[in-house]
């Protein structure tokens, strides 16, 4: 079917084109716009009626004039999917970017993605060892979880994401993840960093990359993660892969969303972001998980940079309301020269409880994690007090805790970028560091565990 070309554009505003006198156009339909110089742009229908159609143009409306020709392609946005996606680099709209051929489709999948029936989900419960102590001990990652990194500009979130991608594995298993990487508005330099790391480790052959860079069209960012997740769903649920989706930077995605909202003159919600941003983000994040009767899984690692380091900003705030926890990167720790600068206190893994313990990690994991956390939290709080009243006002317990906070950061948090600690090594390290505190102050540990693991109290 060759569809009709309309030359009835009435208005052009921001990323939107308005046209009239069309035959019935479907909501969500894909649009192709031919400019007077012969070049083409793509878009999607945002509003349709007998009188007027509103099209959101992915590549931006630059150079479009009222004489441009508009064709409606009869279908909603679909991604050709097949196993051939693995090892490929595509642009933000799903076209090859690596000079390779078009993807030969096994099927064309709707990129909006249907919601997983909550009745059909399976609770994630497989422990993923990332080799990063702060994460494995305190905010344990579970296969099928969506766990974002809350970072800010200038912090090493990319290194952490890559380290996780390299090291993540199930304990006692060689099963590997394949990575679906989605770039939204990041710089070419950042992208090259990701790409060369994936290349260096050989992971690129087992990855699919969807790339929209800072100088690529901003509106296109709204579809890039949907393409990536559609690919991930296909690989996980049709071909049994365990897929790790890393997408960065959600902040750029949200800014594109805001741009569309503004162009449509919608009533803005907080800080100018659209009122439906929560729902929109949920439609990405909720595409993580495991479903009944399928072997594969989707684990998501979205990265976002908190504007002004503010965790209450709508982007981290709405994300935190949807994701199953968050890993918070701290500027203060980064400035103190600690890598990875993960602040475990505001970090959380909501699914941790389901994947730690005797059968999966170790019997002492929960209590050790609670104790490490509590001691560090108290130690950090004492830093504030000491700044006012001096160390002299502290009793013995408080002095130990104060010192422990430094040890925690220096010995527990700090590790090399390629240092891959097993969960046993991490937990043993915790015990060793806790010898700096008298056992009588280790109230979250019970006697049994102390006798089993404490280096100085261990019973043979």
């Amino acid at each position: 079917m060759t569809s009709k070309e309309y030359k009835t554009i009435t208005d052009i505003k921001g990323p939107l084109v308005f046209l009239e006198k069309t035959e019935p156009v479907a909501y969500g339909e894909i649009v192709s716009i031919r400019l007077s110089d012969g070049s083409e742009k793509n878009g999607q229908v945002l509003d349709t009626s007998d009188d007027m159609v509103v099209v959101q143009v992915f590549e931006g409306t630059e150079a479009i004039d009222r004489k441009a020709g508009v064709k409606f392609l009869g279908d909603v946005f679909k991604l050709p999917v097949s196993k051939g996606l693995i090892g490929r680099i595509l642009d933000g709209a799903g076209r090859p970017r690596d000079g390779g051929p078009e993807i030969i489709a096994d099927e064309n999948a709707d990129i909006i993605g249907a919601a997983i029936n909550p009745y059909s989900r399976q609770s994630p419960h497989d422990f993923i060892q990332t080799g990063v102590s702060a994460i494995d001990c305190c905010t344990t990652l579970v296969r099928g979880q969506k766990l974002p990194i809350f970072s800010a500009s200038g912090l090493p979130h990319n290194d952490i994401a890559l380290q996780i991608a390299r090291q993540a594995k199930l304990r006692d298993s060689d099963e590997e993840f394949i990575v679906v990487f989605c770039a939204m508005g990041i710089t070419a330099e950042e992208y090259n960093f990701f790409r060369s790391d994936l290349e260096r480790t050989g992971a690129l052959e087992n990855a699919a990359l969807f790339v929209n860079l800072a100088d690529d069209p901003a509106v296109e960012r709204l579809i890039t993660p949907r393409l990536a997740l559609t690919a991930a769903e296909y690989l996980a649920f049709e071909h049994d892969y365990h897929v790790l989706v890393i997408y960065t930077d959600m902040t750029n995605y949200c800014d594109s969303l805001r741009q569309i909202g503004a162009a449509r003159e919608e009533v803005p919600g907080r800080r100018g972001y659209p009122g439906y941003m929560y729902t929109d983000l949920a439609m990405l994040y909720e595409r993580a998980g495991i479903v009944k009767g399928k072997k594969g899984s989707i684990t998501q690692f979205p990265i976002l940079t908190m504007p002004g380091d503010d965790i209450t900003h709508p982007i981290p705030d709405l994300s935190g309301y949807i994701t199953e926890g968050q890993i918070v990167i701290s500027r203060e720790l980064h400035q103190a020269g600690i890598y990875p600068p993960i602040n475990v206190l505001p970090s959380l893994s909501r699914l941790m409880g389901s994947c730690i313990g005797e059968k999966t990690t170790r019997d002492d994991h929960k209590k050790v994690s609670d104790q490490m956390y509590a001691a560090y939290a108290q130690g950090r709080e004492l830093r504030g007090l000491v700044a006012i009243v001096g160390e002299d006002a502290l009793n013995e317990r408080d002095l130990q805790l104060l010192k422990f906070a430094d040890i925690f950061e220096d010995k527990f948090l700090r590790q090399d970028r390629d240092e891959d600690r097993t969960i046993d090594e991490t937990l043993n390290l915790c015990w060793e560091l806790m010898t700096n505190i008298d056992t009588k102050y280790l109230v979250r540990l019970d006697q049994e565990l102390i006798e089993k693991y404490h280096p100085e109290e261990k019973k043979a």
Partner: protein, 580 residues
């Protein structure tokens, strides 16, 4: 073209405008070639504005719209319990059977199994005069719940025939003289409260087993509570604890615009968890509604109405029902999203101007009532609120707080210290103690309210002292104030903290709560005496028997042991004075 068929004029996300149809407000219509379900929410001249409960991608202007003459309703009758529904009462299990693991569109499903036979036992007889709401028979729906079959609210008359036996929900079990046929299934429009005889003032607490709630900030059966808190502060864990342990006879749990995995967790867990009040699986008393964040927003908007109508229906049978809505903010956001598509004049933060009246109408459907059948029943509503950035000055929190009498304020700082439940004891409140005091005096202890007052007073004093400690350190305080700090610490760590996942301590009966509070006050008193006699605070605090008293709550049978443990503590504290 007849008036019950029109055509689509415009589509903008979940909002569709149709022309040529003569629909009534809130009428259910079928939209497009796929007959997607929608509801008329605005009428302008010839145009009907419809919110559609399924995704509208691919639908075109010109496709048909059919009116159905019905308003958005739920099916009520045996078969509701243990079910999990979406926001418009489609059983998720049926959807899985028809569509697989992803929810696609265009599928209708009945809320009740229309084929299944139930053993109906008539309790009314031929010749009885019956009124709307009167019970005429029963069905043993689950181990714990007897489903009472009622005359629909608007029917009444003399019974011409009634028979016991196996029936499905659409078969007639009773006929009235005027020809009215009564079936086990009723349909009821969700946006209308179900009728009752009269509302009573609540006088019985909803016992939750959470110490901070029952003891300090009790909720009445038939009351309403709001739980605002930032993400990660414990809204969902608290709601789930209430669904597990509260002494309601029935629970309606609404996952409104939240995570899919959280509903899966409930589905996995509840069939295996035992209701502490009946000894039977929790699932037997539970109805779930799951319209998660990525499911259509219009159905999310409807989900709370679907849930509360089901809750009211069980209240009509004389049950105490508790309803949890996690989260009402997502419901409000669904209203905002629809309202903005309607280009309505926005109120505060883009929410529609009618936000606060919708909130009020919803919470008003809670209450303890005399049912049409003359029994006592209640619906207690507990709504989670998710304020942006945790700041409760926003419209949904404020709109909620204006109506509910109980405020359980979750605190990010406490959650960060892993103090759970992270309910702030200084900012939270309950306006029910006055009306519930008598119950506590009669059922727990005659001085219960006084003990509560002492415990909360200690917490207030601690807060004041902490301000001084921040400036000078605790060693600078006089001994008696240092003791107060220790007592308050005991309240926090032993009494207020309660891990929602601890197999034993997650539930604490009110009798035990009282005994624990008394143990704290005893410690305070004995410590004072010992210190007056020369004991050192440090020695008093470190007595081993106090640690044992506190630890023993994690083992079974604590209530029976606590008396002995307190005695041991008293003796050991007294000895610290003698040692000096």
């Amino acid at each position: 073209m007849s008036k019950n068929e029109g055509v689509i004029y415009r589509i903008s996300g979940p909002v569709v405008t149709a022309t040529g149809i003569e629909a009534r407000m809130y009428e259910v219509v079928r939209v497009g070639n796929e007959k997607l379900m929608g509801e008329v929410i605005e009428i302008h001249g010839d145009q009907s504005v419809i919110q559609v409960y399924e995704d509208t991608s691919g639908i075109r202007p010109g496709e048909p719209v059919l009116s159905t003459g019905q308003t958005l309703s739920v099916q009520l009758g045996p078969g509701l319990l243990t079910q999990i529904y979406d926001g418009i009462q489609r059983p998720l299990q049926t959807l899985e059977e028809v569509m697989g693991v992803f929810i696609t569109r265009g599928v209708d499903a009945d809320g009740l199994d229309l084929e299944k036979k139930w053993d109906f036992v008539a309790t009314a007889s031929k010749g009885d005069d019956v009124l709307g709401g009167q019970v005429i028979g029963t069905v043993q729906e689950t181990d714990t719940i007897t489903h009472k079959i009622m005359v629909p609210p608007k029917a009444s008359g003399k019974i011409k025939s009634i028979k016991s036996g196996d029936f499905n929900v659409t078969e007639t079990v009773c006929t009235l003289e005027d020809g009215t046929e009564i079936k086990m299934m009723q349909e009821w429009p969700v946006r209308h409260p179900r009728p009752f005889s009269q509302k009573y003032a609540p006088d019985t607490p909803l016992v939750t087993g959470m110490r901070i709630l029952d003891f300090l900030f009790p909720l009445a059966k038939g009351g309403a509570a709001g739980i605002p808190g930032p993400f990660g502060s414990g809204k969902t864990v608290t709601q789930q604890s209430l669904a597990k342990y509260s002494d309601a006879q029935l629970v309606v749990y609404i996952g409104c615009g939240e995570r899919g995995n959280e509903m899966t967790e409930v589905l996995d867990e509840f069939p295996h968890l035992i209701d502490p009040n009946t000894g039977k699986p929790l699932m037997n008393r539970t109805v779930m509604i799951a319209n998660t964040s990525n499911m259509p927003v219009a159905a999310r908007e409807a989900s709370v109405y679907t849930g509360i109508t089901i809750a009211e229906y069980f209240r009509d049978q004389g049950y105490d029902v508790a309803l949890m809505a996690d989260s009402t903010s997502r419901w409000a956001e669904a209203m905002r999203e629809i309202s903005s598509r309607l280009e309505e004049m926005p109120g505060e933060e883009g929410y529609p101007a009618y936000l606060s009246s919708r909130l009020a109408e919803f919470y008003e459907r809670a209450g303890r009532v005399e049912t049409l059948n003359g029994e006592d029943g209640s619906v207690t509503v507990i709504g989670a609120v998710s304020p942006p950035g945790g700041d409760i000055s926003e419209p949904v929190s404020q709109g909620t707080l204006r109506i509910v009498k109980v405020f359980w304020g979750l605190d990010a700082g406490l959650a960060r210290q892993r103090h759970f439940p992270a309910i702030n004891w200084l900012s939270s409140y309950s306006l029910y103690p006055q009306s519930l005091n008598q119950w506590f005096r009669d059922n727990i202890a005659s001085d219960f309210p006084e003990v509560r007052t002492q415990i909360s007073a200690l917490l207030k004093v601690e807060a004041e002292l902490q301000e001084i400690v921040q400036l000078v350190g605790s060693d600078a305080l006089p001994m008696d104030q240092q003791l107060t700090l220790e007592v308050a610490r005991m309240i926090r760590e032993y009494f207020l903290q309660q891990n929602g996942f601890d197999p034993i301590d997650a539930y604490s009966g009110v009798q035990q709560q009282y005994a624990m509070a008394q143990a704290i006050l005893t410690f305070q008193e004995e410590a004072k005496k010992a210190m007056a006699a020369g004991a050192r605070l440090q020695d008093v605090v470190n007595v081993q028997s106090r640690t044992e008293l506190m630890r023993a709550r994690f083992a079974e049978g604590y209530l029976d042991k606590i008396g002995g443990l307190v005695e041991a503590m008293v003796a050991e504290i007294a000895a610290t004075a003698e040692a000096n």
